[in-house]
């Protein structure tokens, strides 16, 4: 009799577990959203710009949305693995991801077999930040202004080396864009990520480096590298004395890197998207968050779903165009 009871209890327990597992949030009223924790997929290894920005945002989720937002890192294939995962997730608003220059605008150019179509397979929810590339040289380099650099490059075509974090990264595109805009030819030396490139710059093995500001912030502060120009349309708040490439006469070299939040296409009910967008705008307006981001060299720059979509599509066109002329391609 006792044994039988235990058996029944066991079966009941298993059934309970099964039901708990099966009960996923189905059609939830937008007003109740969210009722469960939200997953934010960061398609890069932890510690990078996107990861840090993502974590800053997700921290506030419990406070403003009532549910925690958990960052899950799914790195691989330049961010496309994680983004693909998001694109194929259930469109219920609980699977979100970060999206950026690399995974939206550059990936389809480099990989004709990309498993997701960035325009069709994703819902762009909000833009978080824009940030700039900074053209930098070593502190003791004789080419310590942009004019001197371009001048030298014109007189000695093919002599200067510029480093990047890899073929097809935004840094590489930035370099080629500048080559084209200034009418010079600098040789691209790709490295595996920013740290080795930065070390090569400091050690004098390459002449200049197009870098995300965040990766070189301390070097600039310590005076080890000199920023010559920034590539966004506006100056970077953290280094206000550094001119933009447009100011220096190269409006065609303007390139903006950006990070946003995305979800799979067709999130229903639609008001969830607006709710998330409002949450993000709220977080971005907190002075403490703004301060943290600015010191990192990223500018909080919220765009709602519709504007973000237009912005992203423009970016895609710009990069496609550049890839054509600079001959950066998949194969």
């Amino acid at each position: 009799m006792f044994k039988k009871l235990c058996r029944i209890e066991l079966i009941l327990l298993v059934l309970c577990v099964l039901f708990a597992g099966l009960s996923a949030p189905k059609q939830v009223e937008a007003a109740d959203f969210p009722t469960n924790p939200i997953q934010l997929i960061v398609p890069y290894a932890p510690g990078g710009v996107t990861d840090i920005v993502g974590r800053l945002i997700s921290e506030k989720s419990r406070e403003f949305l009532g549910q925690p937002m958990v960052v899950v890192n799914k790195p691989g294939a330049g961010g496309t693995l994680g983004t693909d995962f998001v694109a194929k997730s259930a469109p219920d608003g609980y699977s979100l991801g970060t999206i950026g220059t690399g995974t939206f605008a550059i990936a389809p150019i480099l990989n004709p077999n990309l498993p997701y179509d960035p325009v069709k397979a994703l819902t762009l929810i909000s833009r978080l930040t824009i940030f700039s590339l900074v053209i930098m040289v070593r502190a003791d380099s004789p080419l310590n202004t942009l004019e001197k650099l371009v001048d030298y490059a014109k007189k000695n075509p093919g002599k200067l080396n510029y480093g990047s974090a890899g073929v097809g990264t935004a840094l590489h595109f930035g370099g080629e864009l500048f080559n084209r805009a200034a009418g010079i030819r600098m040789v691209h030396v790709p490295f595996k990520g920013t740290p080795p490139a930065l070390m090569a710059l400091l050690g004098g093995h390459i002449d200049l480096f197009f870098s995300n500001y965040i990766d070189a912030v301390e070097q600039v502060k310590a005076g080890k590298v000199i920023p010559l120009a920034v590539t966004t349309p506006e100056r970077v708040i953290a280094i206000p004395h550094v001119p933009t490439v447009a100011e220096k006469g190269y409006p065609d070299a303007v390139i903006t890197s950006w990070i946003g939040i995305t979800g799979p296409a067709g999130i229903t009910p639609l008001p969830i998207v607006d709710k998330l967008s409002a949450f993000i705008r709220k977080v971005l307006s907190i002075p403490d968050i703004q301060k943290k981001m600015i010191t990192l060299g990223v500018t909080p720059a919220h765009l709602g779903p519709k504007e973000f979509e237009k912005f992203a599509k423009d970016q895609l066109e710009q990069f496609r165009d550049l890839a054509r002329t600079a001959n950066i391609k998949a194969e």
């Binding site: 890192n73 691989g76 890899g166």
Partner: protein, 506 residues
């Protein structure tokens, strides 16, 4: 010197505060446990625990995370010795002789010397950091692509000496490792190679699945096969728990040499830990009077590399603390952790945040002491694990391998890879090929190729760039010399064998 004492005093006053010491202990405890679990590495752990550190002060948070990092180094050697699964990249070398020692019932001394060796190396490295950190950072910068390329060339040649058995087989494994390392998107051209259109191959084959499969799973497979044939997994009587005086006499040299070697090599980005232990192993093998015994359980083969990889782990903090540049994935996360805490490590850290800089450095020493205190009593427990019936042990090992593989990228693909390499490793065992040279070539190959490409891009195709620079020329000559020595000694052996055959023929 006076300044150094002041700095150390400042550092210790920070790192020995109750809070910091406590979190240091938590860090090394978690780190050891993580290191012991194959596959789950410090990178994943630090990433998971990162949010927890939000609630701690920057220094405390960093100390805890750093504790996890070198705790994992210690723990990684435990699995290498006990079950032939390298818990960490740099523990691969420890498996060569460490596991052999375990199978001879000498697991205790192996673990003991690994613990003590790591402690001594860690202590020396901590002082080394304090004294020469900025200077070493400068040297690290002098290493450009040509130096890397020739250093990797030298390392690849030494990888062939790792093999116990025939040289042609070692060479074949090195080549196989090189071929496997080409899978993925090439750094220099950006073209995908051998990716077969599979997105997961774009970054190349994962290293952890490779070693877990080749070492761990294949070991399980072959052990299970023996059981099926009726042989019992041999755990001969555990002789003693701690290294004997004789063991110490043999090990003290390798430990000191390994510490020095490891410390310097650790500051080089991209492979500090592995290259340190490899270099130490080869050095000990070459200096030893009985090189042919390496691979059968020589304690020097454990003491040296273990010291080297711990010194290397601390050496790899130098670029981080002095330049603000991370030289491996774990460091990159640590930088992220710094940033989230509002501190950015860089050239100014030493002067602007001395309590952070020296606090972290001295916490390494504290961490080393804690690790020793933690690990020595554990040796008795670890050794008992070997006595657990293998039929219970091996499913657990497999479980940890699978979970570890999945935890890398939250992806089931890595698990498939691990299983594939497990089977491959098993086949390799059957036909008497060793995995160690292949694994080393797999890691070193891309480093070599990238550096070669970058060097030639910078020099516009001029090969003389390798000869014009003193360091680079030095490595190149050393590599060629090693190769020549090996060829000559093989020729002599061949000739003497022929002589013998001729004499016998008469």
């Amino acid at each position: 010197m006076d300044n150094l004492i002041n700095n150390l005093y400042l550092g210790f006053s920070v790192s020995l505060s109750l809070t910091n010491a406590f979190y240091c202990f938590i860090g090394v405890l978690i780190g050891t446990l993580i290191g012991v679990l194959p596959g789950i590495g410090p990178t994943a752990t630090i990433a998971i625990l990162l949010p927890m550190t939000f609630y701690l002060s920057p220094v405390t948070g960093i100390i805890m995370l750093a504790g996890i990092f070198y705790g994992a180094q210690y723990g990684g050697s435990t699995t290498s010795i006990l079950v032939n699964i390298p818990g960490e990249v740099s523990s691969v070398i420890t498996t060569l002789d460490g596991y052999q020692m375990a199978q001879q019932g000498r697991a205790g001394p192996a673990l003991g010397i690994a613990a003590f060796g790591s402690f001594i190396a860690g202590t020396l490295a901590t002082f080394g950091l304090g004294i020469v950190a900025p200077f070493l950072a400068g040297i690290a910068l002098k290493f450009g692509p040509p130096e890397y390329a020739t250093l990797m060339f030298l390392a690849l040649i030494t990888a062939t000496f790792l093999g116990q058995k025939s040289m042609p087989k070692s060479l074949a494994m090195v080549v196989l490792g090189l071929i496997l390392s080409t899978i993925g998107r090439d750094t220099i051209t950006g073209f995908p190679r051998f990716t077969l259109g599979i997105l997961q191959f774009e970054d190349g084959l994962g290293f952890i699945p490779l070693i877990m499969g080749l070492f761990g799973i294949s070991e399980v497979l072959s052990n299970v096969e023996e059981k099926v044939r009726g042989q019992i997994f041999a755990t001969s009587k555990i002789a003693r728990l701690l290294p004997s005086l004789k063991d110490w006499r043999r090990s003290i040299g390798p430990i000191l040499r390994g510490s020095g070697l490891g410390f310097f090599l650790g500051i080089l980005p991209g492979g500090g830990g592995l290259i340190s232990s490899l270099a130490s192993y080869i050095m000990e093998k070459k200096i030893s009077r009985t090189p042919e015994n390496f691979g059968t359980g020589m304690i020097e083969g454990v003491a040296g590399p273990e010291a080297a990889n711990n010194a290397g782990a601390q050496g790899s903090f130098i670029p981080l603390l002095c330049l603000g540049i991370p030289c491996n994935a774990t460091m990159a996360i640590l930088i992220g952790a710094f940033i989230i805490h509002g501190v950015q490590p860089g050239p100014l850290t030493m002067t602007q945040n001395p309590e952070l800089f020296w606090g972290v450095i001295t916490s390494m020493y504290t961490g080393n002491v804690l690790l020793l205190i933690l690990n020595l009593p554990l040796i008795g427990i670890w050794v008992k694990i070997l006595k657990v019936p293998y039929s219970i042990l091996y499913p657990l090992i497999l479980l940890f391998c699978v979970v570890g593989a999945y935890s890398l990228n939250n992806s089931i693909f890595e698990v498939y890879l691990t299983v594939f390499f497990g089977v491959l490793g098993y086949i390799m065992r059957k036909i008497d090929y060793e995995p160690a040279p292949m694994v080393l070539a797999f890691v070193l190959g891309p480093l070599f190729e990238d550096a070669l490409g970058q060097a030639l891009l910078i020099s516009r195709g001029d090969y003389r760039v390798f000869l014009n620079r003193p360091l680079s020329l030095g490595f190149l000559v050393a590599g060629l010399a090693l190769l020549a020595m090996s060829v000559i000694s093989n020729l002599q052996k061949f000739r003497s064998n022929r002589m013998k055959k001729v004499e016998e023929g008469d």
